[in-house]
């Protein structure tokens, strides 16, 4: 296989990167155009001679956008912390301990991660409505577990399996109990894996749409994806606001991806590749 990269390869690469990024670049350009330039002939010019921030101001003044961001942040943050904690115990047990039925449990976890969300929504919605948890943070955190818990167990099991088994044997010889082995030997080595899992779980919770759409219908409790999807103008679609909002949610994402790309890739591909 040709391992050298020629000039043709770089041209291809440049085209590829441009094609993938084009929508974002266009949103960035459109977001600083005055609203009048989003319609008519000027809609197709890739620059503007009157750059403005009015769209950005509008996003924060005409919608509770800051509230949307905060809601998403709180819900995703709490979901991530508690699922990763619980999942790390389970993943450790499945990956490192010997007990009957663990393959079955892992199989159950994997099948649950394949459940379509729509199949769980009606009982969850009716239950949350009856106990008064619709339009609350907890009302989203609870159902998000369906998505995030199997995901984190699945990724963490692969990470825990990669830790050399000799270390445990050594700890056992020194007379350490199983819990001591976990806290003092395994956990410190698993920190990178746990961190990676946390990033992926956070992204999954941040992006969730169906539960957020149906359970939190109050404007003050909407999350970012639902909030942006529901942007509505009085007479026309508020494209200016939508472009600005998209740029606002994409920028932190770009920074996060640039910082953690190696971790994200290792998390995404773990479990999917046999090494």
């Amino acid at each position: 296989m040709n391992k050298k990269a020629g000039p043709l390869f770089y041209i291809f690469l440049a085209i590829f990167v441009f094609a993938v990024m084009f929508p974002f670049l266009w949103m960035l350009v459109s977001s600083i155009k005055p609203i009048t330039e989003l319609f008519g002939d000027k809609a197709f010019t890739p620059f503007t001679s009157h750059p403005t921030f009015e769209n950005y101001v509008s996003v924060f003044t005409n919608y509770p956008f800051l509230k949307y961001l905060w809601n998403s942040f709180v819900v995703s943050g709490i979901t991530t912390l508690y699922t990763v904690l619980i999942a790390s115990f389970t993943a450790y047990a499945i990956a490192r301990l010997q007990f009957k039925g663990k393959t079955v449990i892992l199989g159950l976890v994997l099948s649950v991660s394949m459940f379509p969300q729509i199949a769980t929504i009606s009982p969850i919605y009716i239950l949350l409505k009856n106990i008064g948890l619709t339009n609350s943070y907890l009302g989203l955190i609870i159902p998000y577990t369906t998505v995030t818990l199997p995901l984190s167990i699945w990724i963490l099991v692969t990470f825990f399996r990669k830790i050399p088994f000799d270390l445990e044997e050594a700890a056992k010889m020194d007379g350490a109990s199983l819990m001591q082995t976990y806290w003092k030997v395994i956990l410190p080595l698993a920190v990178p894996g746990i961190f990676t899992t946390a990033i992926l779980v956070f992204i999954a919770a941040w992006n969730e749409f169906l539960f957020a759409l149906t359970i939190n219908t109050d404007d003050k409790l909407k999350t970012v994806p639902v909030g942006i999807a529901m942007f509505e103008g009085q007479f026309t679609v508020p494209w200016g606001d939508i472009t600005a909002a998209t740029v606002i949610v994409t920028i932190p994402l770009v920074i996060m991806v640039l910082l953690f790309q190696r971790r994200i890739v290792s998390g995404l591909t773990s479990g999917a590749v046999k090494e």
Binding site: M1, N2, K3, A5, F9, F16, V17, V20, P23, F24, W26, M27, F39, G40, A43, F44, I86, A93, L97, Q98, F99, T103, I105, L110, S111, M114, F115, P116, I118, A119, T120, I121, S122, P123, I124, I126, I142, T145, T146, K172, G175, A176, L178, M179, K184, W206, N207, V224, P225, I228, A229, I242, T246, V249, T250, V254, L268, T269, A272, V273
Partner: protein, 445 residues
């Protein structure tokens, strides 16, 4: 790694018998550690699926007070009952006093029948107790909880009440010209609403859905979307993975580029593409029109084929990079010495691809296909935001249809039946894949 232990504790000597003990305690610890996750999964994922199936056998409508809950037996809503019954009796007695001859007899007869039915309902001791409690609360103007208000009654009593009330309405109407005719009719019909009939309907929702054109259309749309988009994603993803499986300058940048479409919320990317596809002002629509992909820029979101194409195109843009990443990881596990040996033997690039790359990549491809197929089959956000299922339901997927039944028509019974159908489809697809993958997916090594 240094292992620091509590120095005060003497290390336990390892006796031969401690092996079994340790094994037992290892098992116990294993179950303890697994328990919280297992309980959560059973409660928040397995129970709802089973409950969905249960709901799907009822005529469950959240906007209709007599069908808003699952009822296997006849119930009476005592609050409603006691808010109407005494007044209906007084109204009828009043009218009987004013009327003369046969009209008075008829009205008195109705009063007697109603009282008989009421006595019948109260004859059950448990019902009687609840009946009195609700009555007291109503007299004292206290709120009545739903639980206290609802009481299970015999089918015969409930049917009798229903029947008598119909008779009352009919006779009151037949008498004509009663002073308070409207009151009597109103009270009689609100009293009738207090009777809650069982809404168990068995598999009727499935029967009606499986013969419903719209349901089959949704299945067709979902399958077409899944097969076409996953196929394109696999081909392009594999091509990209093969191309970038080498050392080159700017790897990090390319990897980041790949990850951004994957990481952005689907709903947000759908909204973004809605702007780009817009018939008047969308730049992508304009480009497609210029290169001749569509006749007219407005066709993209307003024609059936155009809308389906738009959804597939957006999905390909968003998830091909993810596919490429999964396949790239698989490619990197193939040793380069295999290719070296093959080229020494004079195998062509194509021959190397079909005899080395594809067979060794098989399980990676299958896993990527499995995840992507299931994801595509349950597609919701993308369609909901980009087209809403339109135009003319041409992009309505099965999840969208189930959502509309539940949250737009508040028909949770029928919606649950549809979601069970989605679940069964997904289960069948995964079984097919797992048959090909074997137990590879779960094995330790």
């Amino acid at each position: 790694m240094e292992v620091k232990l509590n120095p005060k504790k003497q290390p336990k000597p390892v006796k031969p018998s401690s092996g079994n003990k340790r094994k037992a305690s290892e098992s116990r610890l294993g179950y303890m550690l697994v328990a919280p996750s297992l309980i959560l999964i059973l409660l928040i994922a397995v129970w709802p699926v089973l409950q969905s199936f249960y709901y799907s056998m009822f005529d469950l409508r959240l906007n209709n007070p007599t069908k808003s809950e699952v009822n296997l037996s006849y119930h009476i809503d005592l609050e409603k009952y006691l808010n109407s019954y005494p007044f209906l009796i007084t109204t009828l007695e009043d009218e009987a006093g004013k009327a003369a001859g046969s009209a008075a007899d008829t009205l008195n007869g109705l009063v007697k029948e109603l009282k008989d039915v009421d006595a019948g309902i109260q004859s059950d001791a448990a019902v009687k107790k609840q009946y009195d409690q609700v009555d007291d609360k109503l007299t004292n103007m206290e709120p009545v909880s739903d639980e206290l208000s609802s009481v299970k009654v015999d089918k015969a009593d409930a049917m009798k009440l229903d029947e008598t009330l119909h008779k009352v309405s009919a006779k009151v109407k037949a008498l004509k010209g009663l002073e308070n005719e409207e009151d009597a009719l109103g009270l009689s019909s609100s009293l009738n609403e207090a009777v809650i009939k069982p809404n168990f309907i068995g598999l009727d929702h499935y029967k009606s859905n499986l013969t419903d054109k719209r349901m089959w259309m949704a299945i067709w749309n979902t399958s077409a979307f899944t097969i076409i988009s996953v196929f394109i994603e696999l081909v392009i993803g594999l091509a990209i993975a093969l191309l970038i499986n080498k050392a080159f300058f700017g790897r990090g940048l390319v990897r980041a580029t790949i990850l951004i479409p994957w990481a952005i919320p689907t709903a947000v990317s759908a909204k973004m593409w809605q702007f780009l596809y817009d018939g008047q002002n969308g730049v992508v629509a304009k480009i497609f029109e210029k290169v001749g992909l569509v006749d007219n820029a407005t066709d993209l979101l307003t024609s059936n084929i155009g809308a389906m194409f738009s959804i597939i195109f957006t999905d390909v843009w968003k998830t091909t990079p993810y596919m490429a990443l999964l396949l790239l990881a698989g490619l990197q596990t193939i040793s380069s010495s295999l290719y070296e040996a093959a080229s020494i033997d004079g195998a062509t690039k194509w021959k190397q691809f079909t005899t080395i790359t594809l067979p060794l990549l098989k399980s990676s491809i299958l896993v990527a296909l499995l995840f992507r197929t299931l994801d595509a089959f349950r597609v919701f956000d993308l369609v909901y935001v980009l087209t809403g299922g339109g135009p003319a339901n041409s992009t309505e997927t099965i999840s969208i249809l189930a959502y509309k039944r539940m949250f737009e028509q508040t028909n949770f019974g029928d919606g649950s039946a549809l979601s069970v159908i989605v679940f069964v489809c997904v289960a069948v697809i995964s079984m097919i894949f797992i048959k090909f993958l074997g137990r590879d997916l779960l094995n330790d090594k």
